[in-house]
Amino acid sequence: MSRIKRLYNWFEMRLQLEGPVKDAALHPVPRNTASWWYVFGSAATTLLMLQIVTGILLGLVYVASGSEAWKTLDELNHQLYLGWFLRAMHGWGSNFMVAVVLVHMAQVFTFGAYKFPRELTWILGVFMLLMTLGMAFTGQVLRFDQDAYWGLGIGASIMSRVPVIGGALVDLLLGGPIIGGATLSRFFALHVFVIPGTLLLFTAVHIWMVLKLGINDWPMPGRVVRRNTYLQEYHELSHKDGVPFVPDALWKDLFFSAAILAAVAVCAFVFGPYGPGGQPDPTIIQTAPKPDFFFLWLYAVLSYLPPSLETPFVLIAPVIGICILLALPLVAGEGEKSWHRRPVAILVLVTVAVSWGIFTHLATFTPWSPIMDAWSGDPVPPKLIHDASPLVRQGAVVFQAKQCRNCHAVGGSGGMRGPALDTVAVRLTEDQLIRQVLQGGGNMPAYGKNLSPPEVTALVRFLETLKPDGQPPAIDATHQEQKAQNAAPQQ
């Protein structure tokens, strides 16, 4: 017997792992579960491992203190060999992980895999999703730049709206009433110890259950799940027409995990690390903080809600959402698994996915907030003023100086709070333009008190030139009528 074999035996005799591992590896699974649809869970696990490894490496350098955090990230980006790549891997790994977890969840939902006997697997999974999102959020805070700072501010103000205990919750979250030194330490502890520890534990139990209960069989219309017959049916399915988990199902998992890792590496290589953006200093007001990708939808939803609905929405909707997710397998633990027979479930999934996509897209640009430096930074398109009269050109200066540009785009740049004005002269007559400028309306403030008559005149002259070549300007029909009447021979 070779030395290695002896060593192995020495350990095996004491650990006795061979049996369970072999069992787990070779347990039969239904043939059609060895499918490309079943690879997301293992990919999520792989990404979790990647995050842990890169996270530990980052932890060697990172200093969780308000004054140092930003500097250490800067050092990673520029001074440490491949430090930037490490940050990029961790950042993109996080994005991929959230995405893969969501896809995994959608797949499990579509395939009805949460039904008996896998209810608890799903419920744990819901908590794991929450923890993954928690990791993404706390990770964004550790970056401690402007986005982190304001994101935290928003988080805290959401907390503070909880009735009665709001103040205490904020204290708990921030380590005091305001974002300070204690805040970052808290989030460091959460991000590095509390959440990952729990997440790992949950992951272990989650996987244990997958092994014990078997991989969900491919849903077939008509193969209905019933509590008293399912286990028997599944056993037959996996033993009669089954394949061993290793290697028949595993190689696809491995391949997909490798591909995902490669994708993370490519993204990290090409797009680089996230930030750090501007320094987290509340006195810097020239900033438009945005949350990271996966919270963008929330940012858009909050912006569109009327203020009176914000608090109820923010406090009640997540609770309801989570309760629904948790209750799902308990309420719908039996019945059809196939998507062909679950139209409502599929419609709900599609609706959620589409609205999520739309809100995320909306939040990538911000039509509802002005661009605060467009007035001084976005040039008036030269062709608009090249052949204009001095008065019109001066009107363009008024347009900039009074910051109309912050809300109105011209030539594709400027704010989107109000309509773009490239064709405004086609829509509004001179009188209407003057009225709109002086009195405002439709969410636009009235400028009557802030503009002198020459400014209004210049501005309106400029606006009157804003129309595409060859299109007639808007005309006032009553003026035409008047003219026609005047021209008509008097009798």
Partner: protein
């Protein structure tokens, strides 16, 4: 799929990454957002604060072309600094210094001034030419100014309401004159606006460059055209 090829390409990628050469994602030096009040880079400062009115490269903007070499030749740094710091009260040129309610520090104002000078100032722009000074204390003579207008400007500009066939349009519109300062008019007449086709003091009437007196007088005449209540939208109805 060719697994070996795939793995190979990953290896190559990692190889490139570990060399760190030209990785598109590698942050360039200074890529992190600096504090807005610590930006000292001229291009950035200019494009955030001035381009909106003065044009992307100091020309083709709605307000005066700062990149015009003749303008840069007649103006001095003190004036530039003062205008940026305090704006031009009574006009649409805002004050930018923190001391005057703006957002820029003194260092940033200096960076703007020296940036403009190093980019747009050419020592030889008006060398050997008799160019009227940027500022004057002289009193203008409006009556003579009107003659100068007729001889130097009327070939292109009209007075009063805009005419269809004129090459350029009215420069005595009440609202226009109410919004622009005499000093700015003087700068435009002397330095011209090459970007929009308005000639400088030499070529308004080719062969007859304008003298200091001519410029002062035209400005005085234009100033005399200012109205008491400019910009009433319906001038005919009091």
């Amino acid at each position: 799929m060719n697994v070996r090829g795939f793995c190979g390409s990953i290896l190559v990628l990692c190889g490139i990454a570990s060399l760190g050469c030209n990785a598109p994602g590698k942050p360039t030096a200074g890529a992190e957002a600096v504090r807005p009040d610590e930006v000292k880079n001229f291009s950035k400062l200019y494009s955030q604060n001035c381009a909106g009115c003065h044009g992307a490269d100091g020309q083709h903007g709605a307000a005066l072309a700062l990149a015009n070499p003749v303008y840069q030749a007649i103006v001095d740094e003190g004036t530039l600094r003062n205008v940026i710091v305090n704006g031009e009260p009574g006009t649409l040129m805002p004050a930018f210094a923190q001391s005057a309610g703006g957002m820029l520090t003194d260092d940033q104002v200096n960076a703007l001034v020296s940036g403009m000078r190093s980019r747009w100032y050419h020592a030889d722009a008006v060398q050997g030419l008799d160019v009227p000074p940027f500022k004057t204390d002289k009193q203008g003579d409006a009556a003579h100014g009107q003659q100068v207008f007729t001889s130097h400007c009327a070939s292109c500009h009209t007075t009063g309401v805009q005419q269809q066939n004129a090459k350029a349009s009215s420069i005595t519109d009440g609202s226009y004159l109410a919004l622009i300062s005499d000093q700015s008019l003087r700068a435009i007449i002397i330095a011209g606006r090459p970007d929009i086709g308005h000639p400088d003091w030499r070529s308004a009437q080719p062969g007859h460059p304008m003298s200091d007196q001519d410029v002062t007088d035209v400005v005085a005449w234009m100033a005399s055209q200012r109205q008491k209540t400019p910009g009433q939208p319906y001038p005919s109805q009091p």
